[in-house]
Subunit: 388 residues, 2 copies
């Protein structure tokens, strides 16, 4: 009997997660022309609910077009299955006669694969293929999805800085990222010179103080006449609480099913606006969240990111042949190198931005951080220096 | 003695307002090789304060690069001069021996030019060159800056719709626009089919009702399982009050120098989030403002918009030779045609989106609206249909 592959997508969609799907499907066709490929809708939910799309006969042309489309074409899920849920999923995989399950996602997704792998006892190959705009997977130099997201963020802050040169004031842009600051730091990837924004960067890796924030902005306004700030939605105060938790009354805080404070509402915007109005009264100030744009804006899909995501999907099929594991993009030389690392190395772990990426005493990117980001997101636009 | 041109930029920066500046400067060089060109910094403020950059000798290559750069390279201003302010500006222009003053901006800018023109009594040619992402200048088919902004908005909503197919819920995107809904309507320019978002559009031209908003979203959720909504920041309730004014307590409302309610804070986000939490409890919902991205995101500058903006600047010099007026993009056939219309026809007037652009009984774009937007913002990306 021919082999059966089940494939699914988990967590937040990205600009290139569909490339990984397509890379995997086309690699299966190349290696195992008779194999059946089932796409599980909405991550492990589709396996639980027997809800598949049969990808076996979808024409390659159609798949290639899906690859170029942002979002998660199979649907996604935020479910983090516990042991009982995993048991149901395992039964579902057995019912589908799956020989391998490829799950594309972040560290939670790798965690699901590890639980499943431990429970299955070697009969099915469990593969985690990497995806996250947070860039927070250990064992990876960077992750598919990050470069496109970073390119959007870099372009957004370059553009806002130009806007605020013309009409000076304070701009605070909130960037996705609960625990890792890479994407927020990418705001400075295309910084033109010392006078250009973003002038300040606040990442989850460093304790946030509202007083320091106001002082930093005051100093920047004095020096540059405007102030462009990038803040991770996940910044936390010294006591380890999310900033939004410190600033917003407890009865107004929203939490998700896992008890995590919801970072995506406008509470943080309002709290920062309030802090600016108190600390810097009378100054033009705007707080905006970049929202979903970085992770899927169709106009900022990086060809390099696309190619890497596709290759990670293709590589996942080799990892399946090896019995399972996590696909990692590692050992960068002139080019990334894919390798198979044990699921346990990646599952549930968060890679933080290295300390040396930020200046020691200032909330600015250090040269190590700039070098890393400019390698991944090299300048794309040449701009003219404004007359103001 | 050779002629002196003064040129300035007013109002919100755009992705292509610098093309208009460069088009004007290069046309002056072509027609009047000996002319002096002074760029006034921060709109009429620079004339008032004698703060100019001499553009006469700036190399063409440097200017061309400025043209490709978003923002307003001369700086801008929100000042709406009254008669007394205009008198000071007029004296400044006389002091600079100006023969013509080209002011690039929207209907307020045209209004300033009219006051100045009336006061000057024919000795200086006053020209208004059009610029606005709001697309709300009368006598114009569309305005420089709109197409790029519309392209960003179209791409943003296409992308968010794909994101929400994967992880269903309600998305409300707030788009700039105080009085005219063109830019918000552009959210639907790249709508793929009837199932695709944005499913609902709310523009300032139509009275907004929170009850209707909730009912519309409920119906959309029942039908499509997700709901993508575009709302103009300037939507008003039946009584003519800005929505934010109806939803936010009076003591928390911010107003600008002209008494206009500040639309750009997070109050509207929070109020809409609250309305959704009350009206559709337990549903995943997110309210985001696209903020400044539409007007200056460097990755969505339309070549057509750039060319039109450049041509409008060049045409302004012919209008100056004719004694002044407002440059209008009109009489579209196979191509736009520029013409000179009296300042009084444009000054201070708002062009609203035609009624037939929206469906009569639904908050959706009608075919007339779609046709208009697709002419200006034709599809740019081919995408694959997701499996969910």
């Amino acid at each position: 009997m021919s082999a059966t592959f089940v494939i699914a997508q988990g967590g937040g969609p990205t600009a290139v997660i569909n490339q990984t799907l397509v890379g995997a499907v086309l690699e299966i066709r190349k290696r195992y022309p008779d194999a059946r490929v089932l796409g599980s809708r909405h991550g492990v939910r589709g396996i639980r609910d027997d809800n598949y799309v049969d990808l076996t006969e979808i024409p390659e042309e159609q798949l290639r077009l899906i690859g170029k489309t942002p979002g998660a074409a199979l649907g996604s899920t935020r479910d983090k299955p516990d042991a009982a849920y995993c048991e149901v999923v395992l039964k579902g995989l057995q019912k589908a006669s799956a020989d391998a399950f490829i799950y594309i996602g972040g560290n939670d997704t790798a965690g699901t694969q590890q639980i499943l792998s431990d429970a299955a006892g070697g009969k099915i190959a469990f593969v985690h293929a990497p995806k996250t705009i947070d860039n927070d997977l250990v064992e990876n130099d960077h992750t598919p999805g990050f470069i496109s997201a970073a390119e959007f963020v870099a372009g957004a802050f370059l553009s806002v800085d130009l806007d605020f040169r013309a009409l000076p004031g304070i701009y605070v842009g909130i960037v996705m990222g609960r625990h890792a600051g890479f994407l927020t730091a990418a705001a400075a990837a295309w910084q033109q010179d010392e006078d250009s924004g973003p002038h300040l960067i606040y990442v989850p890796e460093r304790a946030f103080s509202v007083d320091r924030f106001i002082d930093d902005i005051k100093a920047t306004m004095d020096r540059h006449g405007r102030c462009i700030v990038a803040v991770s939605e996940g910044v936390s105060t010294e006591d380890g609480k999310a900033l939004v938790e410190s600033l917003v009354p407890a009865d107004r805080l929203e939490r998700d099913a896992h008890g995590n404070v919801k970072l995506s509402g406008s509470d943080l915007n309002a709290a920062l606006e309030h802090a600016l109005a108190e600390g810097l009264p009378g100054k033009r100030a705007r707080v905006d969240a970049l929202g979903y744009m970085p992770r899927g804006y169709i106009g900022a899909i990086s060809p390099v990111d696309s190619a890497e995501a596709f290759d990670a999907g293709a590589f996942a099929i080799g990892v399946a042949a090896d019995g399972g594991g996590s696909v990692a993009m590692n050992d960068i030389g002139w080019r990334w190198v894919l390798k198979n690392v044990p699921l346990s190395e990646v599952a549930g772990k968060t890679r933080h931005m290295p300390k040396n990426f930020m200046m020691k005493d200032e909330n600015k990117l250090a040269s190590d951080g700039k070098d890393y980001l400019r390698r991944l997101v090299p300048p794309k636009y040449q701009i003219g220096k404004p007359f103001v």
